[in-house]
């Protein structure tokens, strides 16, 4: 088990090296642009060359990558070309913001989707139609609109919640909760629409299986059949969807972060990409890879726990 986890993490590191290398090679084509952007409207071909030389961007790309890697291994991811902020601390700070929002949204998505999906699948009829209707509305209404409606009502009219900005948890848990409340609500709507549909489908499939009938013939209560047996078997596919949802939310958080002026990972990555801020892009790529590796590993471990057949021995 431990060797399995270690092996997976090991492959994760190899992946990280490969992915960062590819990213760096891709970025290598745009070093001129970075220098040009840094110099602003005053850029001239000569000053761009001088700027590149100053930043060491005129060296061979592979040399630069090796340099980056040797520093990265020692935990030094460099500093932003533009703000000079050290990449590692900049990313961890922004990751905190995004993970707060995404994990909270994910938690609510999971809980609400399971409730909706299970109810719809096990009750049928009107309950099913209502749950499906709710999920449909989730698809229909863009989350941007939901976000704006919530901001208008809760932040501008009632002044219960802030319209923009983020308070770290460590600073004030109460303000932290209010500062992410609307973004979380906006982010989870499409997730719920998707996941609850998946859970409903999986649950319907499970409830029609033979073992459910057999359990019923033994007098096992319906509640236990639905919640203990069918849900557990339906949880595997749902979990896969949830992990994809997580990766998607990391991206989807970008728009939400922009609209709520949250200093998050997504908007940081986006702005860095637009500026061509190589150290940040590299740092974000590295963190992104490690994050996804860990999430996938966690999903596989939980899946193994859920599904004895897929268990790793």
């Amino acid at each position: 088990m431990i060797t399995y986890v270690l092996r997976r993490l090991g492959t994760g590191l190899v992946l990280a090296v490969l992915v960062t290398l590819i990213t760096f090679l891709l970025l290598g084509t745009s070093f001129d642009d970075v220098a040009g952007t840094l110099l602003g409207s005053g850029a001239t071909p000569e000053s761009i060359q001088a700027q590149k030389a100053h930043m060491g961007l005129d060296r061979p790309v592979l040399t630069q990558y090796a340099d980056w890697l040797s520093h990265a291994v020692r935990g030094d991811l460099g500093a932003s070309y533009f703000t000079a902020e050290p990449v590692r601390s900049a990313i961890t700070a922004r990751l905190g913001v995004t993970l707060s929002v995404v994990l909270a949204a994910l938690l609510f998505t999971a809980v609400i989707s399971v409730a909706l999906g299970v109810l719809a699948a096990s009750r049928g009829g009107a309950v099913d139609r209502v749950a499906q209707g709710a999920s449909l509305i989730g698809f229909l209404v863009p989350n941007l609109l939901i976000a704006i409606a919530l901001v208008y009502l809760l932040a501008i009219k009632l002044k219960w919640l802030p319209a923009t900005g983020y308070t770290p948890f460590a600073e004030d848990p109460g303000s932290w909760a209010t500062s992410i409340a609307i973004p979380v609500a906006a982010l989870m709507v499409p997730g719920i629409a998707n996941l609850s549909a998946q859970i409903r489908g999986a649950m319907i499939g499970e409830l029609r299986k033979d073992y459910v009938r057999t359990l019923r013939t033994r007098g096992v209560p319906t509640r236990s059949i639905v919640l203990r047996h069918a849900l557990r078997n339906a949880a595997g596919p749902a979990l896969t969807v949830l992990s994809l949802e997580f990766v998607q939310m990391l991206g989807g958080a970008l728009i939400i972060e922009k609209v709520f002026a949250l200093p998050g990972f997504g908007s940081y990555a986006f702005d860095a990409s637009l500026q061509g801020d190589v150290p940040i892009i590299m740092g974000i790529t590295l963190f992104g890879v490690l994050l996804v590796v860990c999430v996938n590993l966690a999903v596989d471990l939980v899946n193994g726990w859920l599904n004895p057949k897929a268990r790793i021995h």
Binding site: H54, T83, R94, T164, Y166, D271
Partner: protein, 517 residues
């Protein structure tokens, strides 16, 4: 209602060559007795800006909205006041030699960096030398500087390779900051700057990329110009988010889109409209026709100027927030001439005739870079030029390649939205042979002559006349096709007022004042 102007006395326009700093000193000396400055104490200016401030390394500062932060931390040698005039800053006076090749600056006494070290001519020299030696956006501002010398603790002598009319303007901006030589080369100063300015950056409350908190220094020489004890600068890139932040009371000052004004009226906000802060200019960069032959013909360039219904563009696309123009200079500045505005009326028929006369009856095709900020105007530009027979092929250029796309000389024409600057700097950037917007490096003997005159003229009033001539020359020869000035709507919570009127487009917290309680 009283309005507190940061600089109490308007300074003479006629003789700023060696302005005595005494006036200013005397006003600041009143600081202790006035108590007026403290009437705003407890007030915080919460300002929303669009972009994240760059590094605070004195050699890496960038002008634009982020100036609000660094200009609060650093002193500049000169100051551009809210009327757009250059007035004493850290240099209480300055003097050019007659050949305009030596500039002597006298540094104000008694100034201290936030670290406690006194500000001396050595610090000024160290900063200037560092900026000159370090690649960065400020370098171009000091390109004419041959050497910087000190003369005693409070005098700096700058020797120039050639006269540079834009140097004084530059010294009121990023190239004119003074950093603490002890710390400015260390990595930490990029995030934790040590300056002699009115505020210090509160590192504890600042969240990089999100909110920058500035605390006013009690011992600042010009404290009176800064009525807010605390300034919070919040980065809010999305325009609607900025509006929401204003409405929810999370910031109390910021600029908004014209379309957002309706949502703010009647809710305790004061709106100040600055008619011109940036110019939307269709650069006809290849005016020698080296890449796109038709552009070498002045008739074609004039025709392009006639293709735009400028009034309507301002009214409809800018929602009235701006001003139609055929010039690139600040309408509140020295070089602007209202009479020139009549040069190119909207006349597609005449434009077509001119094109035909030049031999392009069937028009031609031109590639143009599609940039983040050009998007709202692309449909109109396309349509306007199509109406006179010119086909535009937009090529998407990612934001990070904007400048390299211009420099690549790939695009004979491109649309820019540059912030307005002082006349010398506008001339340098747009028209001088090495100008950053003159990417094809085109020039003309008549222009060169005027440009030389302007650079060697040390009397600002006389220089202004030359810049007017330059302006007239470039408009009449259709060097570019300016379309409009874009305005800015400043929105402030009641009690705070935006003091600028567009004369100065420099972003500084001096532009915010407190109205009567």
């Amino acid at each position: 209602m009283r309005i507190r102007f940061p600089l109490a006395r308007p300074l003479s326009r006629v003789a700023p060559v060696a302005v005595a700093g005494a006036v200013l000193l005397s006003t600041t000396a009143c600081d202790s007795q006035s108590g007026d400055a403290s009437s705003g104490s407890g007030r915080t200016l919460s300002l929303a800006i669009i972009g994240t401030p760059n590094s605070f390394d004195p050699a890496q500062l960038v002008e634009g909205q982020q100036t609000y932060v660094w200009n609060s931390v650093y002193d500049t040698l000169l100051i551009q006041d809210n009327e757009g005039r250059l007035v004493p800053g850290a240099a209480e006076s300055w003097e050019y030699t007659d050949d305009a090749r030596t500039l002597t600056l006298r540094i104000r006494k008694g100034m201290k960096f936030s670290s406690g070290t006194p500000v001396t001519s050595a610090a000024v020299k160290a900063t200037l030398d560092r900026i000159r030696a370090t690649p960065g956006a400020s370098q171009i501002g000091l390109a004419a500087v041959a050497s910087v010398e000190t003369n005693g603790d409070h005098e700096v002598v700058i020797k120039l390779r050639h006269p540079d009319g834009s140097l004084l303007s530059a010294l009121s901006g990023a190239p004119g900051v003074i950093g603490d030589p002890k710390t400015m080369t260390s990595k930490g100063s990029a995030l934790n700057p040590v300056g002699s300015g009115p505020y210090t950056l509160d590192k504890g409350a600042t969240v990089n990329g999100s909110v920058y908190v500035l605390k006013r220094r009690d011992d600042y020489w010009n404290k009176k110009a800064y009525p807010f004890p605390t300034v919070k600068v919040r980065v809010i890139a999305d325009r609607t988010a900025a509006l929401n932040a204003l409405k929810a009371g999370e910031v109390n000052a910021g600029s908004v889109e014209a379309t957002h004004l309706g949502a703010l009226k009647s809710s305790g906000f004061e709106v100040t409209n600055v008619e011109a802060t940036a110019a939307g200019v269709l650069m006809l960069a290849d005016r020698d026709g080296s890449k796109l032959k038709p552009l070498g013909d002045v008739r074609v360039r004039k025709a392009i100027n006639m293709a735009f219904d400028r009034e309507k563009i301002v009214k409809q696309i800018l929602q009235g927030s701006g001003k139609p123009t055929v010039q690139v200079y600040n309408p509140k500045g020295d070089a602007y001439d209202p009479a020139l505005e009549k040069t190119y009326a909207y006349d597609p028929a005449e434009a077509k005739r001119l094109l035909a006369e030049a031999g392009y009856a069937n028009g031609f095709t031109v590639p143009m870079p599609s940039l983040v900020y050009t998007k709202p105007f692309e449909p109109t530009i396309t349509q306007s030029l199509k109406d006179i027979g010119i086909t535009v092929q937009w090529e998407t250029v990612p934001a990070q390649q904007t400048n390299s796309a211009f420099i690549s000389k790939k695009y004979p024409m491109f649309f820019t939205m540059d912030g307005l600057n002082t006349a010398p700097i506008e001339t340098r950037n747009n028209f001088s042979p090495t100008g950053t917007r003159n990417v094809f490096g085109t020039t003309d003997k008549r222009f060169d002559a005027l440009w030389d005159q302007a650079n060697t003229e040390v009397d600002p009033a006389a220089a202004a006349k030359i810049y007017q001539k330059i302006n007239a020359f470039t408009v009449e020869n259709a060097w570019n096709a300016p379309v409009f000035y874009a305005g800015t709507h400043w929105v402030t919570k009641k009690g705070i007022r935006y003091l600028g009127d567009g004369s100065s487009t420099f972003s500084t917290v001096r532009q915010f004042g407190i109205t009567g309680q």
